[in-house]
Symmetry: C2
């Protein structure tokens, strides 16, 4: 079977034997994979990764212990947890210290014709949700994670900084849940997607308001964005950190302390709220798809995904 | 009257006229002043400060609009707020954007024979509390601020990093309120003060536990301390930032995001809980006094306060 291989920044497609299926796992045929910024970071060598990448996928279950899964179209949570530690017992397998992570940490990823994942990680995709929409479940779950971390007051006003894929999903998810969202970004064409979904958007040219928002989401992916978020937040305000920055980031901590700002790191989320939003078709994710390429064209797909202005690149969809 | 003057890093004592008393203000005779790390930072030029420093004081009211204040021994909150903005209306004058700050921002400080402060900033010191103990009200209020920011679970276990004055006050205040405190520091003699008060202390020589505490307080005043605090915190843990660091601090944000850690900037606090702890004599603050010098010896007092191993230096106490 075809399998994407990433090593030393090089993406190629290999022929590999179909993986064995351990007890408790499902064997899943890939229908569609989505290239995420994290995949591009793996390519840039940030985690010393080598192997099959890919953690955004929709697939069809070929084999499983529980017969009810067989033939189902599924998405899957990416953290493979031990199911025994205190984190797992609290329902926070995403923080299990023994976890492996699909296509990121010690578990081969989804960019191959067949993948394996524990049955307990699977979520059935409702028939009404097309595969090209369901592929956004994982990043949308990361966007919704904010709402699982802090109980926001009903109808609260939030500022979202950044108009990349995650920034758009965060803004549109918060908007769909009834919050008032002001999104600041640099790209009129990207912001327009959120705007059509009901988000108030603004092309940010330097002068953002200062101390203006109780709730701020930094999804810029840049140290400058983080500094802007600190300026945007009012005293006792909260900033959700949705950007993973690499290495040491120079941070001016003084305003954080003087204004008693709360910073909350935010990563993966539960799939349920994301699937709910996609089932109700409340997020126009299809407008975020830039390109669809067959799995065999993975090297070119990675190239395209890294280009400026390109949003989501899908692999093998509809294959 | 004698007044301490700080300019370009130089401390001297001048003779100045007694300040006028605006309506709503009290004229207060200084009984005792305490030199704080912030004063030393003003001396190092961090805020372009020039004028009379000093924000930790105990005084006796000489003149006031309300006759009941006259003759009372008082401490005073250091933020002079506008009393009209949304922050002030919410009882958060400490974040009033129009505020001046005693001895720090545009209001002459307490290191002079007579100072002025709005009556609404004053708190009477109970007769049972000696002046040398009451002088710790302001820094102890900053230590207690943590408990005003987040409702900690009853009996929660916290790690406090740092054994400077603020670290000790934080550890002892949390301990006095029934929390289980593990304090990590570098100085056996300083830690012993907290230990005698019931805090579990440990001289930290490198290897601190990792991902071990749900609640961590960073009071180290150093970027390395902040990095240690991030390591010490468990996933979804909370770190209170009690250290003011200057300039850009290199921060590794990746573990903050991956482990979804919450960072909370924390500054000044309400005086009530601090005065309560001091009145009940639950914090052995007298052990933290290194030296007492007359106001006229302020230059030498500042020198002493900046020396290694020296803790609290008092000015004019008992005068």
């Amino acid at each position: 079977m075809l399998s994407v291989h990433l090593e030393n920044g090089r993406v190629d497609v290999r022929d590999e034997p179909r993986p064995g299926r351990p007890r408790g796992f499902a064997l899943i045929r890939l229908l569609c994979g989505g290239i995420c910024n994290t995949d591009l970071e793996l390519q840039r060598g940030y985690y010393g990764f080598s192997g099959t990448p890919g953690h955004e996928f929709v697939g069809e279950v070929l084999e499983a212990d529980s017969p009810e899964w067989i033939g189902r179209r599924v998405v899957g949570e990416i953290n493979l947890a031990c199911d025994a530690c205190q984190w797992c017992r609290r329902g926070l397998g995403r923080h299990c210290p023994h976890r492996t992570v699909l296509g990121i940490v010690k578990h081969p990823g989804a960019f191959r014709e067949c993948l394996t994942l524990p049955e307990q990680n699977l979520h059935a995709v409702p028939d009404s949700v097309p595969t090209e929409r369901a592929i956004f479940t994982e990043p949308l779950a990361a966007a919704c994670e904010i709402l699982d971390q802090v109980p926001l007051p009903c109808g609260a006003q939030l500022a979202v900084l950044g108009d990349g894929k995650l920034g758009l999903l965060v803004a549109m998810a918060l908007n769909a849940y009834g919050y008032r969202v002001h999104q600041f970004g640099r790209h009129e064409n990207k912001l327009r997607i959120a705007q059509r979904a009901g988000v108030e958007t603004e092309v940010a040219r330097g002068n953002l308001p200062e101390m203006a928002y109780q709730w701020v989401v930094d999804a810029t992916g840049s140290p400058e964005g983080f500094a802007q978020a600190v300026k945007l937040a009012c005293p006792r305000g909260t900033i959700f950190l949705k950007s993973t920055l690499h290495g040491l980031v120079p941070v001016n901590t003084a305003p954080v302390i003087v204004n008693e700002i709360t910073l909350i790191g935010s990563r993966c989320g539960r799939f349920e709220p994301a699937l709910d939003l996609l089932t109700r078709n409340l997020i126009p994710v299809d407008e975020m798809i830039s390109e669809q390429l067959p799995l065999a064209d993975a090297p070119r797909a990675f190239e395209r995904a890294a280009q400026k202005g390109i949003m989501k690149v899908l692999l093998g969809c509809g294959a």
